[in-house]
C-alpha cells in the first residue's frame, strides 16, 4: 500500500553517516514497489545539513538528493529548529523549503509512518 512517509534528519551532518544514509533510505523508500510519498524533514541539528554552505559532495548527499527529487520526494527545513540554532532562511539551500515549526509538526503527525536518522 502506498504510504505517506516522513523521514526526519535530526543530527549534525558531518562525521556520522546519518544525514546521507537517511537520504539514501528516503529515496530508496520513495523508489520502492509502492512508490511511497516521502517528505524529508531537516530538524534539530539536522538543519545544519540543509544549509547552502554545506559541501554536499563531501557528505555523499548529491546523488541521493537527485534520486529523491526524481521520485517526487520533497525536502523541508524546520524553522523552529533553525531559530534555536541561529540559522537563517537565507542560509538554506534552494531545493529545501522552509516551513514554520507548527507546520512541520502537523506534517509529522499526519504521516502514516515516520523514520528518523
Amino acid at each position: 500500500m502506498k504510504r505517506d512517509v516522513v523521514v526526519m534528519l535530526t543530527r549534525a551532518p558531518y562525521g556520522r553517516v546519518h544525514v546521507p544514509e537517511g537520504l539514501r533510505a528516503a529515496r530508496g523508500v520513495a523508489a520502492g514497489f509502492d512508490l511511497h510519498d516521502v517528505t524529508v524533514v531537516f530538524t534539530q541539528d539536522g538543519v545544519y545539513g540543509a544549509r547552502e554552505a554545506v559541501d554536499r559532495d563531501a557528505l555523499n548527499m548529491t546523488g541521493h538528493v537527485a534520486d529523491l527529487v526524481e521520485q517526487d520526494g520533497t525536502m523541508v527545513a524546520d524553522a523552529a529548529a533553525m531559530a534555536a540554532r541561529d540559522v537563517d532562511e537565507a542560509d538554506i539551500a534552494d531545493d529545501v523549503a522552509v516551513w514554520p515549526g507548527d507546520r512541520v509538526a502537523a506534517r509529522i503527525r499526519d504521516a502514516d509512518h515516520t523514520l528518523d536518522f
Binding site: 526526519m8 530538524t43 523552529a80 507548527d102 509538526a105 509529522i108 503527525r109 504521516a111
Partner: protein, 81 residues
Amino acid sequence: MLYLIDEPMAEIGLRTAAGDPDAHVVLIQDGVYLTPDVDAQVSAVARDVSVRGVDLPPDVEPISYDRVVELLVEQEVKSFV
C-alpha cells in the same frame, strides 16, 4: 496518537505531541529523566524508570513494554527515539 520520546529527539517530539489534543506521551530510555510540560497524558516505561532510580511525578504513570505494545496497536504511533 502515541508518542514515544527519548531525550535526543525530545525537541521535535514534544513539539509534535503538543499540537495533538489526543496525545499520549510515553517517556522511554533516557526520556524518563524528562519532565515534559505538555497538556497530555504522560506515561513512562517502568523498566527504564526503575533501573535509573528515577522518582516519577504523581501524574506520570509507569507502564510495561506489554502495555506500550497494546497502546500502539490501539492507536497510531510516532517514535522519537
